[in-house]
Amino acid sequence: MTGTVELQAIADRVVAMAQHGEHIEAFVSRDAETDIRIYEGQVEHFVAAQTEGVGIRVIRDGRTGFAYAGVLDETAVAEVLAEARDNVRFGTPDEWAGLAEPDGVDVIDQDLWSEALAEYTTDGKIALAKELERLTLAVDPRIRVDDANYADVASESAVATTTGIRRTGRENGCYVVVSTLADDGDETQTGFGFSVGRSPSEFDLAKAANEASDRATRLLGATKPSTKRTTVVLDPYITASFLGIISSTLNGESVAKGRSLFKDRLDESVASSIVTLIDDPTNPKAYTATDLDGEGLAARRNVLIDAGVLNKFVHSSYSARRVGTKSTGNAIRGGFKGTPGVGCLALQLMPGQRDQNALIADVDDGVLIQSVSGLHSGVNAISGDFSAGASGLSISKGQVGGPIREFTIASTLQRMLHDVVEIGNDVDWLPMRAAGVSLVIRDVTMSGT
C-alpha cells in the first residue's frame, strides 16, 4: 500500500536524524473520513475530510520533549523535530523515561482493512442513512427522527523509533446511527440505535431502527421510583460502560503513581469469585481488536482478574519500567497529537451460563438498568465512589414491570465487584473498549423520591 510506505518513509527520515545520546520516536498518520447526516429524507450535511500529521518524541538524559503538527511537508516535520528537541530542556530527568523496545512477542495479524468499504460509493452511503431513517420512522407512529447518520474512517499510520521499532498499520470501519424522539402528549423521550461494521455489508439496519424506537418509547409514562437498597440487572451496554470505569483502576501508570484503589492488592480477592476479567485485543470478535499497541508492540491477551483475584495490571513500556515489570502491550495512542498512555484495549468479562430472562427470574425486587448518565461526573475511580443517573424497568418477583426514570444508582466500585451475583451468557461485541454482557449486582442504593 503506497500510503503506509510513504508514512513509514517520513517516520524513518525523522528517526535517522537522531543525534548521539538522543532517542526519537516518530508517529505519522493520515485519516480520511466521511460523515453524512440525513434529516427528513434530505442530506443535511456531507463532510469529506482528510487529516494528517506527525508527532515526534525526543528523549535525552531522561528528559522527554514532544511536538506535533497537522501537516506533513518537509519543512513542517523539521520544525516539529526542532520544537520537540527544544522541549526536552524543560522536562525533569526521569530514570524510567524511554521508548519501547522490541520484546519478541509475536504479532497476531488482524483483518482490519475492508476493500469493500474502501470501494463503497458515496451514493450508496447516502442511501444507507436514508434507509435507516425510513426504517426507524416505520417502527412506531410515536417516533420522530432527530437525524440519521452514516460515517466511516480509514486510517493509515507508521511508527519508527531509534530503539528498533518500525511498524505500519491501516484500518477502516463504518457505522450508522439514528437519534430518535418519541412523543406521547406533553411527554418526549429520546433514544438511539446503531450498527457498526468493517464494511456496510455487516450492518443490520432493521435492528438499529428497532432499538432506536424501543429506547425512546419504552420510557414513555415512566415514573420516579422511591429510594431503597436494591438489586440491579445491567443491560450488556451498561456493563460495557461499567467495565470501562473498572479498567482505569487497573491502569499500571495509575498504580505506579499511587492513584489506583487497587495499587497494593495484587493476588488479593477484589471481586466475587465468578468474576474473570480479560483484556484481549487479539480476539477478532472484539470491536477494538488490534495487532499492535500504541508503541508498536504486539497486542496480547492479559488476564486481569482471575476468579475474583487481582492477577495483573496493564502496562506500557514506561509504566512497566517504573514498577519493574514488562509491558503488557497496553500503550494507547490517541493520534499524532499526543504520546501514548496506558489502558485496556478490549475488555471482556467471562460469560456465565444463563440469558438475561433467567437472571431476572431470580430477582425478587430490583431494577433492569437500560441506560445510565453521568458516569464521568458521578464516579471517582480513585476513591471508588460510584453514582450514576439511570432509567430502566422495575423488577418484581422475577418479572419486569413498568418503566422508571429520574433516579440514581450508587455504591462503590470496590463493593460492586464483590456484590456481583451472576453474569449472563449474552456477550455483545459493542463498539467500545469493552464487550457487553448482562450483569447482576446486589445491594445498590437507588435514590429517587
Binding site: 456531507f46 469529506a48 487529516t51 514532544f66 522541549n87 453514582s387 440514581t408 450508587a410
Partner: protein
C-alpha cells in the same frame, strides 16, 4: 504575527468563486492558524512539554437544506480550491454561473486585551508555574500523596470570508492551569481539583495566585478524607456562587440553542414569551465578557460576539442563533456560531452563560434551609436536551442541618430536570461569581465556555448517594 493575513483576500475571493460553482447559495472559508503549548507535571516531575501547530481551512457550501463541507491543511491557492471543489460537490450536483465575490474587511475588535501572547513567553516561565503549584499543594499536609498539574496555552488567528462579502478576523489567546490532588487517609483516597483559565495574555498570572488554587485543590481532598456517604433521596440544595453555572449551561442553555429548537429536540420549543423560570431568574449568554473563557471578538462565522438575554425575570426572551438557523428563520445571528477547529462545521454554541444576581445574602440562604445539601463545587455532568433531565457530579458538598453547613460528603451525582430547576429556584443570592473554565461538548465538538451564578437554592433535587 498580530494582524497578518494567513491567506490573502484576493485568493479567498477566488476560492469562494470556486465553491459556488455547483450552484450553491452560500459559501464560506474558515481559516485557522493556531500554536499551542502544553506542559504536564505529575508525580513531582515535569513529564513533558508539548508544542502544537494546527493550521488549515474549512470550506462549507450551502444549497437548499444541504451543507457540503471539506477541510484541508494545505493553504496554498491550489489546496484551498481543491477543498472548495470537494465542498461544492458535496453540497450539490448542479452547476452555477460565474461567481464574483468582493470581500469587505471588518475591523478587528479585542474583547479581551492581551499584553503578553503566550508564544512570546519563555517555556521556563510556564514550567515554573507548575512547580509552584506542586510545592503549594504538597505543602498543604502530609496526607497529600499525589499532585498532577497541567498548563496549556494557545494563540489562534482565525479568518472568515463568505459570499455575502464578509471578511473578518480575530486573534484569540487562552491560558489555563489545572491541578488534581490525591490525599490518602484511613478510609481510602480522596481527590481535589481546581483550575483557572482566561482569554487574556500570560500577564493574567500576575493577578491570579496559582499557589492559592493549588492549596484549594489540596483542601478539598483533605476535607473529603473525613467525608461521610452522601445522602440519597430528594431535598433542598444550596449551590455556592460560581460553582453551579455549569448546571444552567447544561440543563437550560443547550435547550435554548436554535438548532435543537428547529428539530423539536428541546423542551423550550415554542415557549418564547412564556414563563419558563422563577421570576428571580435572568439568564444571559455573553461572548463579550472580557477575559472570560468563552469570550470571543467574533464567532467562528465572523459575526461579532454579543450580550444575549435568554430568560428575563423568568420569561423566555430569545434563543441563540448561528448563520444557518438565523437564515432559515429570516432573522439576525446572535454571535453563537462556533466550531472546535477548521476541521469542524459551525453550530449553535454558548459562550459565557450565567444567572444574574438576586438580592439575598448568601448566609441567609443557608440559614433558611432546615435540612439539605450545600454544594461548594459541582463537577461535570450531562443533560438530555429533549427531556431536560440532567446529572451533575458533586465534587465538594456538605450537609446542611438546622440552617448550618456541617459535615463534608463523599462524591455522588445530583439529578434533576432543567425546566423544573428553573422554576424551583426559590432563593437567589447577591454574590455573583464566574466559575471554572469549561469545555462544552456537543455533537463531538469541544469549545471553551464560561459560566457563573450567585449562591442560590433549588427547592428539590435528587442526591445520588448511598446513605439512607
Amino acid at each position: 504575527m498580530a494582524g497578518h493575513d494567513v491567506v490573502e483576500s484576493d485568493v479567498l475571493e477566488r476560492v469562494l468563486g470556486t465553491a459556488m460553482r455547483t450552484g450553491g447559495e452560500f459559501a464560506e472559508v474558515f481559516i485557522e492558524d493556531k500554536r499551542s503549548t502544553m506542559a504536564g507535571l505529575d508525580d513531582g516531575r515535569i513529564e513533558q512539554v508539548t508544542s502544537g501547530r494546527d493550521r488549515g481551512a474549512g470550506i462549507r457550501v450551502i444549497k437548499g437544506d444541504t451543507t457540503g463541507f471539506a477541510h484541508t491543511a494545505d493553504l496554498s491557492e491550489a489546496g484551498l480550491r481543491s477543498a472548495a471543489e470537494a465542498a461544492a460537490a458535496a453540497a450539490s450536483q448542479g452547476t452555477g454561473g460565474e461567481n464574483i465575490v468582493a470581500l469587505t474587511r471588518q475591523l478587528e475588535r479585542r474583547v479581551s486585551p492581551v499584553e503578553r501572547f503566550a508564544d512570546q513567553v519563555s517555556k521556563t516561565e510556564k514550567v515554573a508555574l507548575l512547580q509552584r503549584v506542586d510545592e503549594a499543594a504538597r505543602g498543604s499536609g502530609g496526607s497529600i500523596v499525589q499532585v498532577s498539574a497541567g498548563y496549556a496555552d494557545s494563540r489562534k488567528r482565525i479568518m472568515i470570508a463568505n459570499t455575502h462579502g464578509l471578511l473578518a478576523s480575530d486573534e484569540q489567546a487562552r491560558q489555563s492551569v489545572r491541578i488534581s490532588v490525591v490525599a490518602n487517609g484511613d478510609a481510602g483516597m480522596q481527590t481535589g481539583f481546581q483550575s483557572t483559565g482566561h482569554t487574556f495574555g500570560f500577564e493574567m498570572f500576575d493577578r491570579i495566585d496559582v499557589e492559592e488554587l493549588a492549596r484549594d485543590a489540596a483542601r478539598q481532598a483533605l476535607v473529603k478524607l473525613g467525608a461521610r456517604p452522601a445522602p440519597s433521596g430528594t431535598m433542598p440544595v444550596v449551590i455556592k456562587r460560581g460553582s453551579g453555572g455549569v448546571l444552567f449551561h447544561e440543563a437550560c442553555g443547550h435547550g435554548l440553542e436554535a438548532d435543537l429548537i428547529a428539530k423539536g429536540g428541546s423542551v423550550y420549543r415554542g415557549k418564547q414569551g412564556e414563563v419558563v423560570a422563577s421570576p428571580l431568574v435572568t439568564l444571559v449568554d455573553d461572548g463579550t465578557m472580557s477575559g472570560e473563557w468563552g469570550a470571543i471578538g467574533i464567532d467562528d462565522e465572523g459575526h461579532p460576539s454579543q450580550y444575549n438575554v435568554l430568560i428575563e425575570d423568568g420569561i423566555l426572551t430569545d434563543y441563540m442563533w448561528d448563520y444557518l438557523r438565523a437564515r432559515n428563520e429570516g432573522r439576525k445571528q446572535s454571535g453563537n456560531g462556533r466550531r472546535q477547529s477548521y476541521m469542524h462545521l459551525p453550530m449553535v454554541r454558548m459562550t459565557n452563560t450565567f444567572v444574574l444576581n438576586g438580592t439575598e445574602e448568601p448566609d441567609d440562604i443557608v440559614r433558611d434551609t432546615e435540612h439539605g445539601v450545600y454544594v461548594a463545587k459541582l463537577g461535570g455532568g450531562s443533560v438530555n436536551t429533549a427531556t431536560g433531565d440532567f446529572v451533575f457530579g458533586m465534587t465538594e458538598a456538605y450537609l446542611i442541618e438546622n440552617g448550618e453547613i456541617t459535615e463534608p460528603l463523599r462524591e455522588g451525582n445530583l439529578l434533576g430536570n432543567g425546566p423544573q430547576v428553573l422554576r424551583d429556584i426559590d432563593l437567589l443570592g447577591n454574590d455573583f461569581a464566574m466559575g471554572n473554565p469549561g469545555t462544552c461538548g456537543k455533537d463531538g465538538q469541544g469549545v471553551p465556555v464560561g459560566d457563573g451564578q450567585p449562591t442560590l437554592r433549588v427547592k428539590a433535587l435528587t442526591i445520588g448517594g448511598t446513605a439512607a
